[in-house]
């Protein structure tokens, strides 16, 4: 506890001042001196102080004596003064750096955007160069990395691709069957399902699953390597990190993504077949023959081409976000989220562009 006494211009403080009573002390001192400003602050009765006590005394001194002129201070005991001296060391005020206005922010963002596009282009060119070189020369890549990445990006994604593709095929058929039945168009269900799956749903759903599952893994792996200086260590060992880390993923995903799409089409067809036989009484022969006949080479070609492009987008965006990460563990999380969002966005845009090809 503390006591305050104000008489003849002398404000005397005694007792203990700490973080539990510092706010009360400030309020009481200001109330006592609301009419007359003290000319002396007597600290001789102080028995104990902590840093909050010191700060509240300094605040009070600054309040009474803004120009550092008149207020006389009677010091406390040597022990208490030692604490006061430790916690009132000359403080240099460092102002917050000025915040940019809206135009500066806009300009800054534009500049950052152009810069990041430039960096992404450099990464793309390096990646395509090393991936072509890497086909003929395996040096500079980890042994067995292609197989390991193939398993990681492709094989491990099979269950989730299978489950979602089956459900999508099932739902598509269920929704279509209800409408087709009304018009007696039961027999067109296989056509509708095959075209939808091959041209659109299988590549898109597979790409979104891979972006969420493998794209985030690629971004977080590279980002972690970046913040823990593993990428710098590779550079110092004269190893190109893109060639060593990214190219095996690029090769693997280029091979496994079209395979996943074919798998997704097959499983989606299976889901659709269950509805076709149970609700529309279509036979297996009719279902298969109509499905196969409606699909043209162009459909399969565009489907597999766009799945490859989606795969490249996923790796490039994941690697780009991983390499540009700054700021420790928090940066890794941000890079991972950014890579998934950007990859899905890029996939949808690319899908829209591919859709135009069907008009040709």
């Amino acid at each position: 506890m503390f006591t305050l006494h104000f008489e003849n211009g002398i404000l005397a403080v005694s007792g203990q001042l700490n973080r539990d009573n510092a706010t009360q002390f400030q309020k009481s001192a200001r109330l006592l001196t609301v009419k007359n400003t003290p000319n002396t602050l007597d600290l001789s009765g102080l028995e104990a102080l902590d840093s909050a006590g010191v700060a509240s005394i300094e605040e009070l001194i600054a309040h009474f004596n803004p120009e550092d002129s008149q207020l006389k201070i009677i010091p406390a005991s040597p022990d208490v003064e030692a604490v006061r001296n430790t916690f009132k060391s000359p403080v240099q005020i460092v102002d917050k750096p000025p915040q940019p206005n809206i135009f500066e922010k806009l300009g800054g963002n534009m500049e950052a955007w152009f810069q990041s596009m430039g960096e992404a282009l450099v990464l793309c060119s390096e990646l395509f160069y090393w991936s072509i070189v890497g086909i003929f020369d395996r040096k500079g890549q980890r042994k067995g990395s292609f197989g390991a990445q193939g398993l990681l990006l492709g094989y491990n994604a099979l269950p989730v691709v299978a489950l979602l593709s089956f459900i999508i095929g099932f739902i598509l058929s269920l929704q279509s069957a209800a409408q087709l039945k009304n018009y007696g168009g039961n027999v067109f269900l296989p056509d509708l399902l095959a075209i939808t799956l091959v041209r659109e749903m299988a590549p898109l759903i597979t790409a979104i699953i891979v972006a969420g599952r493998s794209g985030s893994a690629i971004a977080s792996e590279i980002a972690t390597m970046q913040v823990s200086e593993e990428i710098d260590a590779l550079r110092m060992m004269a190893i190109n990190p893109i060639r060593y880390v990214v190219v095996p993923k690029f090769h693997a995903i280029t091979v496994v993504m079209p395979l996943l799409v074919v798998f997704s089409i097959a499983v989606g067809e299976l889901g659709g077949f269950m509805i076709a036989t149970s609700m529309l009484d279509l036979s297996l022969g009719t279902f298969v023959s109509r499905s196969v006949n409606i699909i043209k080479f162009k459909d399969i070609f565009i489907s597999l081409t766009k799945s490859t492009v989606f795969a490249w987008l996923i790796v490039i965006i994941g690697a780009y976000n991983g390499f540009r990460v700054r700021g420790g563990a928090e940066g890794v999380g941000k890079a991972t989220t950014a890579s998934v969002v950007a990859a899905i966005f890029a996939i949808v845009i690319a899908d829209a562009l591919f859709s135009l090809l069907y008009l040709l």
Partner: protein, 251 residues
Amino acid sequence: MIINNMEPIISVRGLEARYGEKRILSDISFDIFAGQVTVILGPSGCGKTTLLKNMLRLHEPVKGSVKFWGEEVLQMDETSFNAVLRKVGMLFQGGALLNSISVMENVAIPLEQHTRLSRSVIERIIRVKLDLVGLHHAIHLLPSELSGGMRKRAGLARAMVMDPPILFCDEPSAGLDPLTSASLDELLLDLKKQLNMSIVIVTHELASIYRVADRVIFLDEGALIYEGTLDGARQAGIPTIDRFFEAGKYE
């Protein structure tokens, strides 16, 4: 609370810690006294940091007893233990700052959460504490903009911002240059002297140990092999301790 120097403020008895099946610490017993700097030392991997984390329940020990001011903390409910933690400051090895907020906001957290001090007093305290650790210029920076040593010093400012009666420091001088390390030791000694602060330091930096240690606790392979004064440790004739000091004398 007035505490007799000869009464332990922390008592550890029969502490055993495991990570999974692996036993890290076995049958550790010692006392920490008020107003003293106690250094926990020993070779790398001997369990120093694990001991600290088990005392503070960041990792739950398998068995044993840890008492702060005579109260058993291992069985305490969260509310009671939080009341104990408010009287404890902890400096982590890497500083453990929250990355998304500035240094100033990091140091302000305990004051904002546990006191009703006015904003101006809080800011003054933060500036003083950052000034004491030589970081007044970094007050508005984000942790990601600091070097490893600066992060550690900001962590120390946060650990001591409440003037806790007990301050735990995990490797405070590791990664710091000798001048900064020495000034940090001076600061710890000032805190001990002026606020009767008890300081527990985990380190194996001999220069720092010589400067600050009142008592040392020596661990080796998860067991306590010596507890007492620094001079006593050097004269105890324990081969591990002798090798430790012998190897470090050319530092």
